[in-house]
């Protein structure tokens, strides 16, 4: 017992020691990592922007403020209007986005382009009413104090200079005894250290080492604030993102309905129309065999055979036509989703059970999509899963209809390109729904379609 506990403890110590070494290594290397250096460069550029911006305000706005606060404010407001109205704010924002993407790998999508008129006054009006221009301006204004924080973060990197103190100290400070030299100053984020003796140089070295170790993390913290501002203020904005999503899903919905119409036309063309043309042909042949005036011999037996054929084919065509019609809109849906799903489950090739608990009836469109989702998922179970049992569940959750199909098959279902699931997801997303798949290799597979009750 004791030995085994000891062994465990040793093992834990070893892992802890290994962990400490790994941590020490990565902490020591962090200041030299490419990410830290890129973030430092980004901060330094931020410092320049901030200094230039503050200096401009100092030159343009401050003289006004000296006369009266109101005049200073008016000048500031006017410069904001000029920045936004001329499009400069958006252009600067775009530059910021490019810089962030190149240096700190912050990929922010572009806001939608403005539709500018031909006349100058129209262009100015469009730009002034563009929220993205004002958001870019807000970023520029906030960048001024943020640039000062970035300066603070950059100051930690000065520690690299402090680290050299002990190495040159004796070379330059080998003066005869009794000579008073002024101490060498060194700036840290906490204030000046004045080193007059070698011990002072060692102190500078120690503080600098701490600064260098902290530098990447301080930089990262400040830069992450900048990242957040870039995402919020230089991106397309929530409304634009929503519009883009709607445009995408609408395009998909239109495509999907066009594809559905094409499929129906194809089913009718290849199936029903061919069947009916052949049927008419057979009846025409039979008729000619029974007509005395035709040049063909009178042949009632042959005619009966053809009529028999035609009769069988008419019945087949009816079945096919019913299937096509059901594919367009299953009439059983008019009786409610529960009846429709019960029919679907009863017809399923894989043994399936239904659990239905939907107290509030969804809209017709949502019921239809829910039904077709279940039908598609159940068809997938039959085709791909090798399952022997499936469960179809329909439940509600606040304002959502959840349709879930679970099977005990081989798993491994995913949203592949061109898979049926992809098409299903498009249809579901068109009504702001979601499709989620849990299907580890070996199963079980659970696919959930989440639809808003009022689509």
């Amino acid at each position: 017992m004791a030995t085994s506990r000891e062994a465990r403890t040793t093992a834990r110590d070893a892992t802890t020691r290994g962990g400490v070494i790994a941590f020490g290594r990565s902490a020591a290397l962090a200041p030299f990592s490419s990410r830290a250096q890129r973030e430092l460069l980004f901060s330094l550029i931020g410092v320049i922007v901030s200094v230039v911006g503050l200096a401009t305000i100092g030159l343009v706005v401050f003289p006004g403020t000296a006369v009266s606060a109101m005049r200073g404010g008016a000048i500031l407001a006017l410069s904001f209007l000029v920045l936004v109205g001329s499009g400069a704010a958006r252009r600067l924002g775009a530059a910021g986005r490019r810089l962030a993407s190149r240096l700190i790998a912050e990929q922010v999508p572009e806001p939608p382009p403005l539709r500018l008129g031909r006349r100058r006054s129209d262009r100015v009006r469009t730009r002034l009413s563009d929220p993205n221009g004002w958001r870019a301006l807000a970023y520029l204004v906030l960048k001024l104090p943020l640039g000062q924080l970035e300066l603070y973060a950059a100051s930690y990197w000065v520690g690299f200079i402090g680290l050299t103190f002990p190495f040159w100290w004796r070379l330059f400070r080998n003066h005869p005894p009794g000579v008073e030299l002024s101490p060498v100053g060194f700036i840290t984020p906490f204030g000046w250290i004045r080193a007059g003796t070698f011990a002072g140089a060692i102190l500078v070295f120690g503080v600098s080492a701490a600064m260098v170790l902290a530098a990447p993390w301080v930089t990262r913290a400040v830069v992450s604030v900048d990242r957040w501002l870039i995402r919020v203020l230089l991106g397309p904005g929530k409304l634009a993102i929503r519009i883009r999503a709607l445009e995408e899903t609408r395009a998909r919905a239109v495509e999907d309905s066009a594809a559905t119409l094409r499929r129906i036309e194809r089913d009718l063309h290849d199936g029903t129309q061919s069947q009916l043309a052949t049927l008419a042909m057979k009846l025409g042949q039979a008729k000619e065999k029974l007509e005395h005036r035709s040049e063909l011999p009178y042949d009632p037996t042959g005619a009966l055979e053809l009529v028999d054929d035609a009769h069988r084919q008419a019945k087949e065509t009816l079945v096919e036509l019913r299937d096509i019609a059901r594919g367009i809109h299953p009439p059983v849906l008019d009786l409610g989703l529960d009846t429709a799903l019960a029919t679907l489950v009863a017809r399923s090739a894989v043994a399936a059970t239904l659990r239905f608990d939907v107290p509030t009836r969804p809209t017709q469109a949502i019921e239809t999509i829910g039904y077709f989702s279940a039908a598609e998922l159940l068809a997938n179970v039959t085709k791909h899963s090798h399952a022997s049992n499936a469960i179809v569940e329909a439940t509600t959750n606040e304002r959502h209809l959840l349709v879930r199909v679970t099977d005990d098959g081989i798993g491994g279902a995913r949203l592949g390109k061109g898979s049926g699931l992809r098409g299903l997801e498009d249809r579901v997303r068109a009504v702001d729904g979601r499709l989620s798949i849990v299907s580890p290799p070996g199963g079980p597979t659970v696919v959930t379609v989440d639809l808003p009750l009022r689509g």
Partner: protein, 215 residues
């Protein structure tokens, strides 16, 4: 006659084979796509090929494209294109250079078996068979339709339409229940009124009428 059939719907294909064999014709190959059609025609060299327009793989116009290849490369094999709908542009492409040994019919026409077989025989013999629907659409789209209405008598219009379908004077006469001599007179009048040179062969006059309508 020796016939090759290209049709992707199996029921239709088998029905056609039975119908033609029932009437003593020989179906040398029945295939389901354009490439197989070209191969079958090259191997069997039939009198006529029946070609569905929409076939695999794309289900658009591969039958028509195969038919155009046949028209160019084996001009002595008649081509009867048939389809579930009529597209006038397809007709104009089929008839672009010459109108001998070509047909374009709606699939529905197989219901009138004898007429269909007659049309097929006409195409096999180097004649023309255009669906009445094709002619109707060509007439409807023609910018000369007002001129035609103004100059031709109703009977002459009927004769013109049947002539455009590629029918012989005998066939026109029996379709309209009039004598062949009367048909000849109507035809001569039509050509005179439209200012077209009267031609002997049925094919030439189909082409002449179609050119007139398209102009």
């Amino acid at each position: 006659m020796r016939v090759v059939i290209a049709e992707d719907a199996a029921v239709m294909r088998e029905g056609l084979v039975r119908l033609l064999e029932d009437r003593g014709h020989e179906v040398t190959a029945a295939v389901a796509d354009g490439d197989a059609l070209l191969r079958a025609v090259a191997e069997r060299h039939p009198d006529v090929a029946v070609v569905d327009i929409r076939m695999p793989p794309t289900h658009t116009d591969e039958g028509l494209r195969a038919a155009l290849v046949l028209r160019r490369e084996v001009p002595d094999v008649g081509v009867l294109v048939f389809s579930q709908y009529i597209e006038t542009r397809y007709a104009t492409r089929l008839l672009a250079e010459r109108s001998d040994g070509v047909g374009y019919l709606l699939k529905d026409r197989v219901a009138d078996v004898s007429e269909f077989v007659d049309a097929l025989a006409r195409v096999a013999a180097g004649g023309t068979a255009l669906d009445p629907e094709v002619v109707r659409q060509l007439l409807g789209a023609s910018r000369r339709v007002a001129a035609l209405d103004a100059t031709l008598t109703p009977r002459e219009s009927e004769v013109l339409a049947l002539m455009a379908e590629g029918r012989s004077n005998t066939a026109i006469a029996s379709a309209l229940f009039i004598g062949e001599g009367a048909v000849e007179k109507h035809v001569a009048n039509i050509f005179a009124k439209l200012g077209l040179p009267l031609s002997e062969s049925d094919n030439r006059r189909v082409l002449a009428v179609l050119r007139y309508l398209e102009a």
